[in-house]
């Protein structure tokens, strides 16, 4: 069964794109529960996951029924960035993903909050959460990059591996009234500065124009995503029409 949003407007499309980002990244962070390197990180990662899930619920509810949208759409109907669906990998991969995404989300919500569009109220709340998420990711990038030889090597690997998924964040999103190139400049500046302070080399591989750019927003995802959805959706789908 495939569920499509009730209203096919630009607002719905935008709510789905931003909502799916938050939903999928929240799910990935939820996978860390019980696996974190230190108890304080059990709390921090769960905390960020919860903030994101809260954002996802508001956004998906703006597009339709949150549970139908989360549990009954198939892979090709999801509009999230490929970045957020990337597997957790080691702690450095999770932190690099957080660094890239939270810097983007903070800038995006900052602009949306300052405007008078339909997402301004949500963005006004979420920008405070994303400031905390970004700080958490930046602090860990510094600790890992400028920590031990091993942590430095792992942080560099993670930063390199996820770099090619970052261009997609700056493709225009229908219904999101923000200048992507302005976001991109500010993002590059912020992330490069953090990486430099972390003694990590800023990757020089492709970001925009690569095959990945814009693909997630069009429902073209990476292989691990289908498996993630299978796990996330199986119980809900096993009991059609049930309420929980």
């Amino acid at each position: 069964m495939t569920t499509t949003p009730a209203k096919d407007t630009a607002h719905t499309a935008a709510a789905l794109a931003l909502g799916d980002d938050a939903l999928v990244l929240s799910h990935r962070l939820g996978e860390w529960a019980g696996h974190a390197p230190v108890l304080e990180e059990e709390l921090a990662l769960a905390n960020i996951a919860l903030d994101l899930l809260g954002q996802a619920r508001v956004l998906l509810s703006a597009a339709g029924d949150e549970d139908e949208l989360a549990y009954l759409r198939e892979e090709r109907a999801f509009r999230n960035l490929q970045l957020v669906e990337q597997p957790n990998g080691d702690f450095a991969h999770t932190i690099a993903r957080q660094l890239y995404f939270s810097a983007y989300q903070h800038l995006l919500y900052g602009e949306l909050a300052a405007g008078d569009g339909p997402f301004a109220p949500l963005a006004g709340k979420a920008v405070k959460e994303t400031a905390y998420h970004r700080d958490h990711a930046e602090q860990w990038t510094l600790r890992l990059g400028d920590g031990t030889d091993e942590s430095h090597a792992r942080m560099q690997r993670a930063v390199d591996a996820l770099w090619r998924y970052t261009g997609e964040m700056f493709q225009p999103v229908e219904g999101v009234d923000v200048d992507p190139s302005g976001l991109e400049t500010a993002w590059l500046e912020r992330v490069s500065e953090v990486l430099r302070r972390a003694t990590v080399t800023v990757p020089d591989g492709p970001r925009t124009g690569a095959w990945t750019a814009g693909a997630g927003r069009q429902g073209l995802h990476t292989e691990s995503f289908g498996r993630m959805l299978a796990e996330m959706q199986h119980l809900h789908r096993s009991h059609p029409g049930a309420t929980w």
Binding site: L23, H27, G30, E31, A33, G34, H35, A36, P37, V38, L39, E40, E41, E42, L43, A46, N47, A49, L50, L53, G54, A56, R57, L60, E66, D67, A70, Y71, D90, F91, L142, R143, L144, D146, G147, T148, E150, S151, R154, E231, M232, H234, L235, H236, H239, G241, A242, T243, W244
Partner: protein, 335 residues
């Protein structure tokens, strides 16, 4: 609070002090306990009291940490976004409880690292209940209702425990636990009133979790090795069997409102005693699980060890970064 004289020793132990002083300290301690005063970290306390508290608080902290696993097992499969948010918040609370409790234990002169090491090497235990698997979504509700319910029955009296830091930690823990318990009950209620399949799932979970929950109160009073001393020290306020009976009396009407049955044919109201009679607990199973032969003992400990080992490089990085940062600050201050 014990006497000022005892407090002045600032953590002095019986073995450090001259014999006659020790007798004075012991008298002051006994008087403080008798007067329901709180013993605080800098007060003199008997070595055995300290050791008992370290053991109990550490085991309690370990239970919070291991207890994250059976529930985290369902985070990625929670059937609605609302339930997923509730479950994530709950597992996060448990990590927080672990942190409070390790801090309380540290006031007794141990460290979190040392206690975690004892957990990982099997020298300290955690609650036997977390060695049971969560096989369906309804188990998340049964854990909330029954396991958290039993924990609260055990822990509310600990809010009046004679050791101040533990008692204060329990006040905070119990507030959150009772919230979790209501959520678990509400989850089961939704299932019980849902489709026939959901109702059956809820009943099956209660059938599997009922007896292990009763075992959470520990062995029967006549076999409980630490009880008498703990009660004399006012660490413990009620016996295992007393708390277990109280729990059964609370659960029976709740099960009725849930529309679920409890898996005990001998369970019935005893008019004469004004309490429920219930069937015999399988203490062989209890001892087996405690010995490490429960369904999930191996998985739980292995997973905890693995998280710790795989996180070692992260903790080392944080320490190395902090050391560099400290050095550079010191250098800057000198320059």
């Amino acid at each position: 609070m014990a006497t000022a004289a005892a407090r002045d020793t600032a953590g002095g132990r019986a073995s450090d002090a001259p014999a006659d002083d020790t007798a004075d300290f012991q008298r002051a301690f006994d008087a403080a306990v008798a007067a329901d005063e709180r013993i605080e970290p800098r007060d003199w306390m008997p070595d055995a009291y300290r050791a008992t508290l370290v053991r109990q608080i550490a085991q309690h902290a370990h239970s919070e940490i291991i207890g994250m696993q059976p529930e985290a097992n369902w985070i990625t499969r929670a059937p609605s976004l609302r339930r997923k948010a509730i479950l994530m918040a709950k597992v996060q609370d448990e990590a927080g409880h672990g942190l409070y409790l390790y801090s309380a234990a540290e006031t007794l002169g141990t460290s979190r690292d040392e206690l975690l090491d004892k957990l990982h090497s099997g020298r300290q235990k955690y609650s036997s209940i977390f060695n049971y698997p969560t096989l369906t979504w309804a188990d998340v509700g049964a854990i909330g209702w029954l396991v958290d319910g039993a924990a609260i029955t055990n822990q509310v009296p600990l809010c009046r425990c004679s050791y101040g830091p533990y008692a204060r930690a329990m006040v905070r823990v119990c507030k959150e636990e009772s919230f979790h318990q209501r959520q678990g009950y509400e989850l089961l209620l939704a299932l019980s009133r849902g489709t026939p399949e959901q109702h059956a799932m809820a009943q099956d979970a209660v059938d599997r979790w009922w007896w292990p929950s009763l075992m959470m109160f520990g062995p029967p009073d006549d076999e409980s090795q630490h009880s008498a001393q703990s009660m004399a020290w006012k660490i413990k306020r009620h016996s295992n069997d007393e708390l277990r009976r109280r729990f059964v009396d609370i659960c029976v009407p709740q099960a009725e409102s849930l529309g679920l049955t409890l898996p005990d044919p001998d369970l019935k109201w005893n008019e004469e005693r004004g309490q429920h009679d219930f069937g015999a607990i399988d203490w062989t199973e209890f001892r087996d699980v405690l010995k490490g032969n429960g369904p999930c003992n191996e998985e739980r400990l292995t997973r905890r060890r693995r998280a710790h080992e795989e996180g070692a490089w992260v903790r080392e990085a944080a320490a190395a970064h902090a050391a560099k940062h400290r050095n550079s600050e010191t250098g800057a201050a000198r320059a």
